[in-house]
Assembly symmetry: C2
DNA sequence: ACCTGAACACCGTTCAAGT
DNA sequence: ACCTGAACACCGTTCAAGT
């Protein structure tokens, strides 16, 4: 609130650095990326840009619209593999590429999966995948094949990226998991060494610190096997 | 703010209906279920119970802790199938049961998948599933099989339940999807009748109004086939 | 066209004070 | 032990008014 701060301009005077829609989206992207969606607010973003909150509303609309734009920015950055490679490696690369990009910006990826995209510009990946599935011979069950693949891949990634609860420390979670009652949870207890901090629901580290690469590849390969088998039949 | 309201009690006077931890969790569950997480606040919950906000903090801790309890309540309600049925039908029933319960309380299910559970009491399903996978013969790749199944099922459901953006109406989305540029999205355009309002990313209805039952069954069956095949090999 | 400044109606959380 | 009442530090959003 100091008069000399860049946020204190006179009425109607324009910002030294022009506040464009693009600049706002970029700054919002960076803020959410660094601090998470909880650490993001319209007011903090405005302060960051040296501008009053109302200015944001003029440029991008309300909070929901802005989050939609951030989401869109993220989806556009997902890399598509060479379309001329064979189906199997293409599909595996798409899946891995999607997940890799989610790990680059976990907070934004979570946001983007949770609400449906508000714009149809993010349909490059779906379109390409549908094309490949049609080539493979799917027709009546095209929707199911597409949904299974898309839902499993996007879903796995978002479940994998679910953050730890803030209220409890990792050590406490570890202690709880390692000390689980063997009569109540016999199978977990019997395989604790294999599962600890690796199996979903039994992790205590940050998801980005302990990526489940092998499990993801396992899932995708099982799905691709299954889809091919169903076409041969 | 009327004096005669049940919310206006004198200092230190107890509520006519005692405010227990259980009552708070139950009321929170109902509020989120009906109005969604966005329509829920500590203050509105307190008002609903005829009590001051600070009372909630005394009984259940902060907002995060309360959401954890609501989550836990939901997970406990997931029905487990008869453990003595054969592996294949057991697994299918678990998956369907999980999803069915998510559809009963979509707002809570979304909440429960987004953050990791804060309590280890919700491990009945994981434990049972691990037991079945061990029976099937998984050992070194037990984690991967478990994660693939769990991640795909929970993930599919949460992606399926992603709500429409509030800012845009269903009609507008439908129009946009049906009018997609055929040169930019040739494969979607060519199969629009099969995909419209059924394929992920191409829906405009509410998720609960257009459940993707077939796609979910397709996914689960492909996964179960794949797991069994990997064990025979 | 673009931005300010203030206002409105909310939040979550804490804490001394009451019974 | 349980709850009030008020306070603190925030929110998102709107809108008349300025340049």
């Amino acid at each position: 609130m100091v008069k000399s701060s860049s946020a204190a301009r006179r009425r109607g005077v324009r910002a030294d650095v022009p506040v464009t829609k693009e600049a706002i989206v970029e700054a919002a992207f960076r803020l959410i990326d660094e601090r998470g969606l909880e650490g993001f607010s319209m007011r903090s973003l405005a302060a960051e840009l040296g501008v009053f909150p109302a200015t944001l509303y003029w440029h991008v609309g309300d909070r929901g619209a802005l989050l939609g734009l951030v989401e869109y920015e993220w989806i556009k950055q997902v890399r598509m593999p060479d379309p001329d490679t064979d189906w199997r490696t293409w599909a595996l690369e798409v899946a891995r590429g999607y997940r890799a990009h989610a790990f680059r910006h976990p907070n934004i990826a979570r946001l983007a999966t949770l609400e449906r995209p508000q714009n149809t510009g993010s349909l490059r990946l779906p379109d390409a995948l549908i094309g490949k599935l049609v080539e493979l011979g799917f027709d009546d069950d095209l929707v199911d094949a597409f949904n299974a693949l898309m839902g499993a891949i996007r879903g796995f990634v978002i479940v994998e990226l679910a953050p730890r609860p803030e209220s409890i420390g990792p050590d406490e979670i570890e202690a709880e998991i390692r000390g689980l009652d063997a009569t109540e949870y016999p199978n977990i207890a019997a395989n604790v060494d294999r599962l600890a901090d690796r199996a979903l629901s039994l992790r205590w580290s940050n998801p980005t610190d302990r990526p489940l690469d092998d499990s993801f590849d396992f899932l995708v390969n099982v799905l691709l096997d299954g889809l091919e088998a169903r076409r041969r039949a």
